[in-house]
Amino acid sequence: MTSLRREPSLLLALLVVTGLVLLFIVYPQVRVVATPGGSGYADFFSGGSWVRPLQNSLSVTALSTTTAVLLGFVYAYAMVYTDMRGKPFFRLVGILPLLSPPFVVAAAYILLFGPRGIITYHVFGQSPNILGLFGIWGVQTIAFFPFSYQLIADVLSRSDARLEQAARNLGAGPWQVFRSVTLPLTRPGLGAAILTTAIYVLEDFGNPALIGGLYTVLPTQAYGLISGFGDLSGAAAVSTILLGLALVIYVAKLRLDGGRQYVTVSGKASSIPRPPVPRWVSWAAFIACSLCALVILLVYGTLVVSALTLAFPTNLGFTTQHFEYVGAHSLSLRNTLVYGLVAATLSGIFAVLAAFLVERGRWRGRRVLDFLLIMPAAVPGLFFGLGYATAFNEQWLDWVDRGALITISMIFWNIPVGYQAAVAGLRQIDRSIDEAATSLGASGLRTFRDVLVPMLGGSVRVGFTTTFVRAVTTLSVVIFLFTTQSTTATITIFQLVGDFNWGGATAFTVADVGMAIIALVVIAVLGRGRVSLGAARG
């Protein structure tokens, strides 16, 4: 595509893409930021109610990120560097949390350690107060270390095994190689992985909402202001603070990794062998991973058991009544599936088209469009959802189906992963391929359709799968948008936990995660065995 002036169809495509980005990414956010107005902000900031949640958010983010990253690093190091047993199993266990809403960890935590928890009450006879900072910290550590593991494993596996072989060959020991070769080379990637984890933790809404108690963080405060007081202006102001923090972290991350934003989860091990580590390291790694896996399995096991018993943990009699309940209230599951599939399809297509226009174009301003397409990755789900609620909650828009609005929000909130995958994919396709098609008479869009899209299969799959998984697992984007007719599985689970209907909540969780797994297996089979996931978030 040499010049947009000469190809009106390309110009049109660009205008459409830009228009959609402005309407569905920029406009809602501007609306949120503008909602309080000058005096609103003045009142809000002088009111001071934001100080505690901000402090809380910062400390919980610092704590949870640190522990989640440490665990994730151990897990990743074990997977990439050691020859411990059971790697396929650990890999599978590490993926499981990506397919479920992070806040189910909080639910399991309450079931295990709550005032009537199976461990705290039934084993030790205690009814501790688990709400507050330590509860959130513990739960987020468990909920997010698998994400951090995926990100770190991706970075470590990219480090060049040949360099490590060379260092060993020159006489360095395993630890020395790791410290003097691997770490310096992977530092930017590791930094980016840490910051990405921090964003996940910072914007996590579900876990603090369930077990935060009086310990309010920014997302829960924003939600509380709206649901409790109808204070849209205050909620918008809180969300804006949240967005500011996330943007700061995100910009720092971009400076480190230049915007890589997805990891490829595949069954294939690296082809170049890494130098061996001492036997005891492998064993230590095995034990550490086993403990981590045990915790994860405990979480999901608890959910499954609870879903299949009459009144977990007091009455462990087997029942299918909770699943019958799910069957009777399956609207939210159906919605989730439909929204997820539609959003995933459209997001994948839109992302690839946008990537084509930005990466192959030579027009002015494409850097700006590039930034706008990556930006949603930094936008907390709560803010994004609030933006849609603010921007499109107009009387004259009443004809718009809420389900459609939710779907659109999922499309654009998840654009960055598919978009960046497509940009990376396009960079791997030599321009001479486009030019060959052009010189044979194909216009820009024709080249895109006939040649580039089929070659970008992998990138399209990344965008599709990630969007789908996030659609199935997100709570925060939807929480301000759903109606009774357009409710989703995560909303239902959240409401059921709020009603202490544990059987229903856990059965819904199992059904939701099960649905995600089945869908992914189908996608994997259709996509010849490779599932590529951007890390999901809640």
Partner: protein, 385 residues
């Protein structure tokens, strides 16, 4: 034989090209940032010619080709195809199919679909398309391979697919960007002949870009040698090789002896070049003039020199006394470096197996009509058109 090669009276283009040019490049300049990749280049190529842009990497030849294809826009100047200015025409409407260095085959299409792609885009109906694809595959020697995938083909086969894919759309002009440079030497040579054969059969205008002088010399009707964004010289392979106008050109195309000399007895189109004790009478190429006592270069190809035992002379030859500094056996030739008055001359002796290997003092024999004068540093007058 004397150098009575047709066209040695050296027009910049083939006879008649200016009027009936199929493609004209007029004063074209292309900048990338501050650098001029192509600097005021002009030439004209007649219909049905095999034209080559030759030059070292970074000389602007590929940029020029890409401007013809429409992948780059010239900053200045015009590109005129069949008498029509095509600067504003998008690349996909120019009818200038291109063959790429890396072939750029579509990896997700079979050979047949690759070749048929241009026809599909043009909306040629299925039956007709199949027929033309089959015909083309046959033509480029790939009959029966239509169902293969590109990654199942050898480099040479892929190259043929690329050529077939471009030919099948019957382009106005076929552009070839170093199409043979990714192949090994043997294959390159055999495909070279096929390429020339193809062009002769089709009588299609080819514009071929290469950095390989052998390729350029053996394939082309017309060559433009480019350097630093300019056309240094354009003409028939014969002129380019035996009548290079600049030191760069003489040096770039083949090995050459460039000997500093002083022009004496300048009379119209002749002069005598004096160096050391020798005086070599030469004819001046059209458009080249020298002043009396001007410093010039005497240019002579290594294969145009002979060696004889010391002290030998011959009718019509200039004999220089020298000693053998080194020699290298290159198979088809023996290359000597002969020291004459402290300056090394390269001499190629053909069929080394038949002759004697010289050592020590020798006589270097130079036939004046095989020598040629180069006037240093006169770039301005050299663009063609």
């Amino acid at each position: 034989m004397a150098d009575g090669q047709p066209g040695s009276s050296a027009p910049e283009v083939l006879p008649g090209a200016a009027e009936t040019a199929h493609l004209r490049v007029d004063n074209v300049t292309k900048r990338f940032g501050a650098a001029k990749a192509v600097d005021n280049v002009s030439f004209a190529i007649p219909r049905g010619a095999f034209a080559t842009l030759l030059g070292p990497s970074g000389c602007g030849k590929t940029t020029t080709l890409r401007m013809i294809a429409g992948f780059y826009d010239p900053d200045e100047g015009d590109i005129v195809l069949s008498g029509k200015r095509i600067n504003q025409l998008p690349a996909h409407r120019r009818g200038t199919a291109m063959v790429f260095q890396d072939y750029a085959l579509f990896p997700h299409m079979t050979v047949k679909d690759n070749v048929g792609y241009g026809l599909r885009v043009a909306g040629v109906p299925g039956k007709e398309r199949e027929r033309r694809v089959a015909e083309t595959l046959e033509f480029v020697g790939l009959g029966g391979l239509g169902h293969r995938w590109p990654n199942q083909l050898s480099g040479g086969q892929q190259q043929r697919v690329a050529v077939g894919r471009a030919l099948v759309v019957r382009p106005q002009i076929l552009l070839l960007d170093e199409p043979l440079s990714n192949l090994d030497a043997k294959l390159r040579e055999s495909l070279r002949w096929e390429m020339r054969e193809l062009q002769q059969q089709l009588r299609m205008t080819f514009i071929y870009v290469t950095h390989d002088q052998d390729e350029a010399l053996s394939l082309s009707d017309w060559i433009a040698v480019m350097n630093q964004g300019r056309v240094e010289q354009a003409g028939t392979p014969w002129e380019i090789y035996y009548r290079p106008r600049t030191e760069f050109l003489a040096d770039f195309v083949g090995a050459v002896n460039l000997v500093p000399a002083i022009a004496r007895d300048v009379r119209g189109a002749t002069a005598v070049l004096a160096f050391g004790g020798a005086r070599v009478p030469v004819g001046l190429p059209p458009g080249v003039s020298v002043r009396e006592d001007q410093e010039v270069r005497l240019s002579v190809r290594p294969e145009s020199l002979w060696l004889a035992s010391a002290g030998a002379t011959a009718q019509g030859m200039i004999s220089l006394a020298g000693t053998v500094a080194r020699r290298a056996f290159l198979g088809d030739i023996m290359r000597y470096w002969i020291n004459v008055d402290g300056r090394e001359w390269i001499v190629d002796q053909a069929d080394p197996g038949a002759g004697v290997a010289f050592e020590g003092s020798v006589s270097l024999m130079l036939r004046p009509e095989r020598a040629h004068v180069i006037v240093p540093a006169t770039p301005a007058e050299l663009s063609s058109g």
